[in-house]
């Protein structure tokens, strides 16, 4: 009788396993739907742009015959739906067409530029997390003290000073004047093309190859742009951490933890922080995705051949295949990150099981 309530509880937790399959299917379905929608929108954008895709390929001085031939070859005479299906089947085969801008297959370009961004964004996010989370926590614990205010201003500067400003000043100071870090580019000029590209990420490639000189050089090149991106995401991460923490620190279970005689450290980290992990994961995933979208200006300032400047350059020169290809890849990564953060969510939060 007493334990009838307990029985109900165990009953619901048992049903968890069978619903797991359902959840996985549902997740896959929602990825598929989102990606389809994304492709549809990219396709529509490609059509909406007041730019003649044929001219982009054949050049503006092409004769009428050349133009018409290309027009037919691109299937532009077919109904829009058919064109979309063509587009869809191309994309599913990993074919994003040829970049008008550099003549290379877009997929190949993306294989080259995306790892560069991935490397930069990952280290940037790591920095943002390693600094931003403790900063947010300290700000919350010391709420309304000067520490909190300093943390706030530090974060806001990261947010509102244009990133190229920070980038250039950073370059001037740490590269130009102090010489602590490597200059723009991913590695020094001597090392260009030395390590075989396996993952496309120089840090990993050089480590795999045992080229520790190059590895060090690559580190010295990546550290500044990554710190600047890290600073940017730090701003967001620390603010969100602070507000999550404040909510937890007012919770009743924190008092319980104190009643047990736990130290402040244990109360804050083991208890309060344990409860915001889940929310933080979402925030970090979002900010990581934002960095993966490429921070155009940072990439430009640091001559970092990443996907952000790739898409932007393509946009500026109306290279729609490249734009759409880049968009689809960024979108896919984004959706995957989203799913991943959901998975981590259910891993970390017992209530989500």
């Amino acid at each position: 009788m007493v334990n009838s309530a307990d029985a109900v509880v165990s009953n619901t937790s048992m049903s968890g396993t069978s619903s797991l399959l359902f959840r996985v299917l549902k997740t896959i379905g929602s990825i598929a739907i989102t990606m389809l929608g994304l492709l549809l929108v990219t396709f529509i954008i490609g059509r909406v742009m007041p730019i003649d895709p044929v001219i982009s390929i054949v050049g503006e001085r092409a004769t009428k015959e050349v133009y018409d031939a290309a027009y037919l070859e691109m299937g532009l005479d077919k109904p829009v739906l058919v064109q979309f299906l063509y587009y869809l089947s191309d994309v599913l085969r990993g074919d994003f067409g040829i970049s008008y801008l550099n003549g290379a297959p877009v997929a190949e370009d993306i294989r080259r530029v995306f790892p560069a961004t991935l490397e930069l964004a990952t280290i940037g996010t790591l920095i943002g997390v390693i600094v931003g989370v403790p900063l947010g926590i300290v700000a919350a614990v010391k709420r309304d003290t000067w520490i909190d205010q300093v943390a706030r201003v530090v974060a806001l500067v990261g947010y509102s000073m244009p990133i190229f400003w920070l980038g250039l000043i950073g370059l001037l100071v740490f590269y130009g004047i102090l010489g602590w870090v490597g200059g723009p580019g991913r590695v020094g000029i001597f090392y260009v093309d030395v390590v075989p590209s396996v993952t496309g990420m120089i840090l990993i490639d050089s480590a795999l190859d045992g080229q520790w000189d190059i590895f060090r050089d690559a580190i010295s090149h990546i550290i500044l742009p990554a710190s600047i991106l890290g600073y940017y995401s730090l701003a967001y991460i620390s603010r969100m951490t602070r507000s999550f923490m404040l909510e937890q620190l007012n919770a009743e279970y924190i008092t319980t933890a104190r009643v047990k005689g736990l130290s402040e450290w244990a109360v804050v980290w083991r208890h309060a922080f344990g409860n915001i992990k889940v929310q933080l994961i979402t925030v970090i995933a979002l900010s990581y995705a934002g960095l993966l979208e490429g921070s155009v200006l940072t990439e430009i300032i640091f001559s970092w051949p990443g996907i952000g400047s790739y898409i932007t350059t393509a946009l500026l020169s109306a290279d729609m295949n490249a734009v759409l290809g880049g968009t689809v890849v960024v979108g896919l990564v984004f959706v995957c990150l989203n799913v991943l953060s959901d998975l981590l969510y259910s891993f970390y939060d017992p209530r989500a099981k």
Partner: protein
């Protein structure tokens, strides 16, 4: 023998419209006995408990002439020393189990944590102790509960877990804030039995906060009746029905009783004079102020 002696305890909260006195000069002493505190909602029962453990957070301010635990004034302890008192010497069962357990930590982990905090034993030993304790508060499926998360527990189980967690370091004093409100009547009996045993066999001091006058009069040795942040009356529990204070009488009369039906219930007529009475007003409270406890 007196375990705890509280004199002129005040808790204040600054608000926009001036300072709000939540507890106004409460004094009592606790021996190895069961002391009940009753009173209406908001009368300062829980705050009194928390203030003893110095758990009132900024901007709340606690003052008292002294809160002495076996002669040692808790108000003068450093935060570090205070942590040694909490849990080990004075423990408190929080009012709302739903919010008082960490939702992302396994129940067992939370109990073990409390145990390890004050006792240098191995993790395994702590686990055994924890399971034993869970069984003591009549949780049948203790292994499963040990590995469960709080949200998988019903309100009543949560309350028992809370009690187990607070009893495991063997405190000298237990403050139990409405520990049985979510319990089925039969489980309630068992849980009260455990506390009763600890008081009688180990000489623990128990502060038992409750709404339920019937329960308090049946279970406790002495009862404090609080109203508006003050203790308006203290009496022997079995003499509760003879209490003289109009507020206490009012409370008793306003309860519907299964055995003696009435057409209309008596309603408490609050009297402004109950707010201040024979007890010293807070203006002359000379206790040491703690700017910010915890």
């Amino acid at each position: 023998m007196t375990l705890l002696d509280v004199e002129n305890l005040c808790v204040k909260f600054p608000t926009r419209s001036g300072v709000f006195d939540a507890v106004r000069g409460v004094s009592f002493s606790l021996g190895r006995e069961r002391l009940g505190i009753v009173g209406e909602s908001g009368s300062g029962k829980s705050l009194t408990g928390r203030a003893i453990l110095r758990l009132i957070r900024h901007p709340g301010v606690v003052t008292a002439n002294h809160i002495s635990l076996e002669g040692e004034n808790l108000l003068q302890l450093s935060e570090r020393q205070m942590r040694k008192v909490r849990g080990q010497r004075i423990s408190m069962v929080m009012q709302d189990p739903k919010f008082s357990l960490n939702p992302v930590m396994r129940v067992g982990e939370q109990i073990v944590e409390a145990c390890l905090q004050h006792e240098k034993i191995s993790r395994n030993a702590a686990k055994l102790k924890a399971i034993e304790m869970l069984e003591a508060v009549s949780i049948r499926d203790s292994e499963r509960v040990f590995n469960a998360y709080p949200h998988e527990m019903s309100g009543g189980m949560g309350q028992r877990i809370m009690i187990a967690m607070m009893l495991i370091p063997n405190p000298q004093i237990l403050i139990a804030d409405e520990p049985t409100s979510a319990l089925d009547v039969s489980v309630q009996t068992q849980v009260l039995g455990i506390m009763d045993k600890l008081v009688r066999e180990r000489g623990m001091g128990l502060i038992f906060i409750s709404h339920d006058l019937n329960l308090v009069s049946a279970f406790c040795d002495r009862v404090l009746i609080m109203y508006g942040g003050r203790v308006v009356e203290t009496c022997q529990a079995d003499k509760l029905y003879e209490a003289k204070h109009p507020y206490t009488q009012g409370l008793l009369n306003s309860m519907p009783r299964l055995d003696t039906p009435v057409k209309r219930l008596q309603v408490l007529k609050r009297d402004a004079s109950w707010m201040d009475g024979d007890i010293a007003s807070d203006s002359d409270a000379s206790g040491k102020a703690i700017g910010r406890s915890v």
